[in-house]
């Protein structure tokens, strides 16, 4: 493997930080301010993607800035796993930025400058995490992400949002100030370093099995952004945020940061040998299987569209971890590809929820009867997003689930095969009725005066265009999945699996 010195990881992080400063500076020139967001997003995406050919060719791009503690540097390394997360987040930021402008203006939301600035810093934190070369650097960006998304969650500053945001920050900071802190201190004590190693930092360490198991589970709980049950309650609480936040951050950047951290721990801190020998892989797989099924059952019972989507996210995040935890090549590829597949489909669904809210102020699924005629683009996109969640071709979700299913067969673990199939049925059971209600039920007049009357519901263009694009992207991902599959294979090969 080649190590190339490169400044590009830092440039990718800095783009949105600079944008945040400009956004604050241009607080009373909204057009210029919002254009900055979009331009920075495009720029960031191109910087990230410019590194892809090198990573696909088997190199990593490295930059060590300085030493923090003995054996711990402030350092970046762009590898295949980081590239998956970074490509997805930076590409979707472009669309989310456009969508946000449409949504925030349509809603005449307050504090838009704070919103766009926090949004930009969140993206810096996400990319910084993706490219971090060791646990210390990763955790810095992880915490920054918690702190800068906090104002986005309490954005509306009403009673409901204070309550939700409080739960959000207490869960995330609480988990990291307890379990994550302990895990980091133990890791540093045991390994004398915090670097990610291709075959695992703790491989060959002389720590006892008990300590290794304690470290692993502390990480699993400490990285609460991965929303494994029972540490998931912050995610539904975060739905009080404006929908663009729920879409990009609480379906992509923040939650994927959590899952990404867990994958880093599985592959590059513990290593697949330790995971396998101590039975941690199988234990994790059972834990997340519980989450997959339980979260889906929760989702079934939710009438609030965003709440249903949030529980669906909890369930789908665990697919990614399940893939990694099965520790077989195909399952690992499936898990990693699902980062992308879930992102494109889920952001579409959230965009749709926001679009429906913008156009009609409706939040409950039961109020959506017949809305498909008024919002054809939105509801068609919603249907495509649903297909991705269920895993029906030709969406990206089909590819990743195909690998997961074959991976489960390869691992000879029929329990997980059953979990995947049951979950697919549950996904269908809570997503398809939404499309049915929208297109095939008769329009009903609601007596609720807050809702816009059905006759005057129509698409909001600036909101509808991005969601159509993300829906198309989720189809393209199903037809041309090679980019993410190749990255996933590179991750898999790097861990020493064959």
């Amino acid at each position: 493997m080649d190590y190339l010195l490169s400044i590009r990881p830092v440039l990718a992080i800095a783009t949105s930080l600079v944008a945040a400063v400009l956004i604050l500076y241009m607080h009373n020139r909204p057009n210029l301010r919002d254009a900055t967001s979009v331009i920075a997003a495009i720029l960031k995406f191109f910087i990230v993607i410019s590194m892809a050919p090198l990573v696909l060719a088997g190199s990593t791009l490295d930059l060590t800035l300085f030493e923090i503690l003995p054996g711990v540097d402030f350092a970046f390394r762009v590898d295949a796993l980081g590239m998956v997360f970074a490509s997805v987040s930076s590409l979707l930021w472009i669309l989310a930025a456009i969508y946000s402008i449409g949504y925030m203006r349509n809603q005449k939301e307050r504090s838009q400058t704070r919103f766009f600035a926090s949004f930009a810093v969140s993206l810096s934190a996400a990319i910084g995490g993706a490219f971090a070369a060791n646990l210390f650097t990763l955790v810095i960006f992880y915490e920054v992400l918690s702190l800068v998304t906090y104002p986005l969650v309490y954005h509306k500053e009403n009673k409901e949002s204070w309550k939700g945001s409080r739960r959000y920050i207490v869960y995330l900071v609480g988990a990291s100030k307890s379990f994550l802190l302990a895990a980091l201190a133990l890791t540093y004590q045991v390994a004398g370093s915090m670097d990610f190693m291709p075959e695992g930092l703790l491989k060959g360490s002389d720590a006892s099995d008990f300590i290794l198991i304690a470290i692993y589970f502390s990480y699993l709980i400490g990285f609460a952004k991965s929303a494994i049950m029972p540490f998931h309650a912050w995610l539904p609480a975060a739905m009080v945020a404006p929908t663009p936040v729920s879409a990009l951050l609480h379906a992509v950047a923040v939650v994927k940061m959590g899952v990404f951290c867990v994958l880093r721990v599985i592959f590059h801190v513990m290593g697949i040998d330790v995971m396998g020998n101590l039975g941690l892989g199988i234990a994790t797989a059972y834990l997340v299987s519980f989450t997959i099924i339980t979260a889906s059952i929760y989702a079934l019972t939710r009438d609030d569209l965003k709440a249903r989507l949030a529980y669906s996210t909890i369930s789908q995040l665990s697919y990614i971890i399940l893939g990694a935890a099965m520790l077989t090549p195909l399952a690992v590829i499936g898990g990693i590809t699902h980062i992308a597949a879930h992102a494109f489909s889920k952001i579409t669904l959230f965009f749709c929820a926001g679009s429906i809210y913008c156009a009609s102020h409706r939040r409950n699924i039961s109020d959506l009867a017949g809305i498909g005629k008024r919002l054809p683009w939105t509801m068609a996109a919603f249907f495509i997003g649903s297909l991705g969640m269920i895993g029906i071709p030709p969406t990206g979700g089909f590819i990743s689930k195909w690998y997961l299913v074959t991976g489960a067969v390869e691992a000879k673990e029929m329990v997980f095969l059953a979990v995947l199939l049951v979950s697919a049925i549950l996904n269908a059971a809570y997503f398809l009725p939404v499309t049915y209600t929208a297109f095939f039920e008769k329009e009903a007049q609601s007596s609720n005066p807050e809702l816009v009357a059905m006759e005057s519901v129509k698409e909001v263009p600036m909101v509808a265009i991005p969601l159509v694009i993300t829906a198309i992207l989720s189809l393209i991902l199903g037809l041309y999945p090679d980019y993410f599959l190749e990255l996933a294979r590179a991750v898999m090969r790097g861990t020493g699996m064959s």
């Binding site: 915490e143 302990a182 201190a185």
Partner: protein, 491 residues
């Protein structure tokens, strides 16, 4: 002859005290004190630059006869630990003058004289290589602090000042007894280096260790000797709180590093598990006490008890990680808690209330104040990237090596810390704007920004590049561990 730089550092503020009575107006007094203490700070910076990191020996040594018949000398010298505390003292010194610029309105001259005197004595303590000199300064320091609390403090100042004085004086008596035992057992000298080189039987070591423990435990303060601290902090003026939290609390921990560990290595190892248990108790209990407060100044005071627990925890792990974490944490606590007291003082100056529930929305009402205060809260919470995190991770990883339970208690303490600090963050800074009794509130002026910025720099400098601190610290700590191991094996 070489310039006796440590003496200059010590006597500059002392000489200024003598000049002070001849100055006329309050404005001149303030400017004069500021300039003197700033010059003192610049000398401390120079000291840091000139410090030789390749040796663990004492540097910048000075030695003069004082009372030769009793073995007392004027002996000065610094190592990689004390150089940092001199720097911290000198940094907080001029910040304290700025912080009291407007809030101290009566008897300005006396106040500034107290600040100058205490600075001179504190630096003297950190430089002293003679036990007698150390003890004299250590005791004398109480007087200006007693005056600062007793004259310029809040409503209950006399009670608080008296309690502070009694507690520390009682501890000091035990300290004196311990010193005298060492004096007679160690060859009738007060030369600290000679006393470190001398050998003591385990019985002597154990007795002296206990005497020192109580003396230092009052200063730090460790549970159950902590009850004077909240009273003293709440009643003290801002500058008093900053000095108290920033430097005076460190004296106890510094005592362990200077006396207990090198002079009493066998007892230190013997009592280490007990010390670790007491520290773990202080971390959790102090945290819980802080969690129960609604008075913001009391909350920060109790949080000090918890944070000081991390320091003694790290020291008695007796390994490099734990001990360097402890020293870093000492420095951090001076910076961060100093800053928190500064901000509590600023908010009190504006609204004359310290009740957390009466506030809200400060980030909106006074953005600069809000953002800086938030940063210091996060630093106290030890968020990665800030100074607190580095100390915490080092102390905890050092502790995990010796005692998993104590380390877990430390983690619990960190979690409790996050809870009460996040509580302040949410209640004071966020939400709708709320000011007690509809007082007028205004954002930071240039003087106040000048107070906060140096502290802010250290929050991130220590958080991201603690190496510059560790390179100076580590030779000294490794030497200390060597002393512990060598004599420990022999005894």
């Amino acid at each position: 002859m070489e310039l006796p730089i440590l003496s200059v550092l010590i006597f500059l503020p002392a000489i200024a005290v003598i000049i002070l009575p001849f100055l006329r107006t309050n404005a001149v007094v303030r400017w004069f004190t500021l300039i003197v203490l700033f010059v003192d700070f610049l000398i401390a910076v120079w000291l840091l630059v000139a410090f030789d990191t390749s040796t663990a020996d004492m540097q910048f040594r000075e030695s003069r006869e004082w009372v030769p018949s009793l073995g007392i000398g004027y002996r000065l010298g610094i190592d990689g630990v004390s150089v940092w505390f001199i720097f911290l003292t000198a940094l907080l010194g001029w910040i304290c003058v700025l912080a009291s610029w407007n809030s101290i309105k009566h008897r300005v001259k006396e106040f500034m004289a107290s600040l100058l005197a205490i600075q001179s004595m504190m630096i003297g303590v950190f430089c002293a290589l003679d036990v007698f000199l150390f003890y004299v300064l250590w005791e004398a320091m109480l007087i200006p602090m007693y005056l600062i609390i007793g004259i310029w403090g809040g409503k209950n100042r006399i009670y608080a000042a008296f309690k502070f004085f009694l507690f520390t004086l009682a501890g000091s008596l035990l300290f004196l007894i311990g010193i005298l035992v060492l004096y007679f057992e160690g060859g009738r000298t007060f030369d600290m280096l000679a006393l470190m080189a001398a050998e003591y039987s385990f019985k002597v070591q154990a007795g002296v260790f206990i005497a020192f423990l109580i003396a230092f435990a009052v200063k730090i303060p460790m549970v159950p000797f902590h009850t004077w601290l909240p009273d003293a902090h709440v009643q003290a003026p801002t500058a008093g709180s900053i000095i108290l939290a920033g430097v005076l609390l460190k004296m106890g921990a510094y005592g362990f590093i200077r006396f207990s560990l090198p002079m009493l290595p066998d007892a230190s190892q013997y009592f280490a598990p007990m010390m670790i248990a007491l520290s773990a108790l202080a971390i959790v209990y102090g945290g819980l006490l802080a969690l129960a407060q609604t008075d913001i100044k009391k909350l920060v005071a109790y949080s000090s008890v918890s944070h000081m627990g991390f320091i003694t925890l790290g020291l008695f792990t007796l390994n490099v990680n734990g001990m360097s974490g402890a020293v870093i944490q000492m420095f951090n606590h001076g910076i961060t808690t100093g800053a928190l007291f500064l901000f509590v003082g600023l908010i009190y100056e504006r609204t004359h209330s310290r009740e957390i529930p009466q506030y809200g929305g400060m980030i909106k009402a006074v953005p600069l104040f809000g953002i800086l205060f938030a940063t210091f809260l996060l630093s106290s919470m030890a968020v990665p990237g800030t100074n607190g995190f580095v100390g915490e991770i080092l102390v905890l990883s050092g502790t995990f090596a010796v005692n998993g339970w104590a380390a877990s208690a430390g983690v619990v303490g960190a979690l409790i810390g996050a809870a009460y600090l996040l509580g302040i963050y949410r209640q004071v800074l966020l939400g709708p704007v709320k000011v007690p009794d509809d007082n007028k509130i205004w954002d930071l002026d240039n003087r106040e920004i000048l107070c906060a910025v140096p502290l802010l720099i250290f929050v991130f400098w220590m958080g991201l590049y603690p190496k510059s601190f560790l390179t100076i610290l580590q030779p000294t700590l490794e030497n200390l561990l060597l002393q512990l191991a060598v004599t420990g094996a022999g005894g």
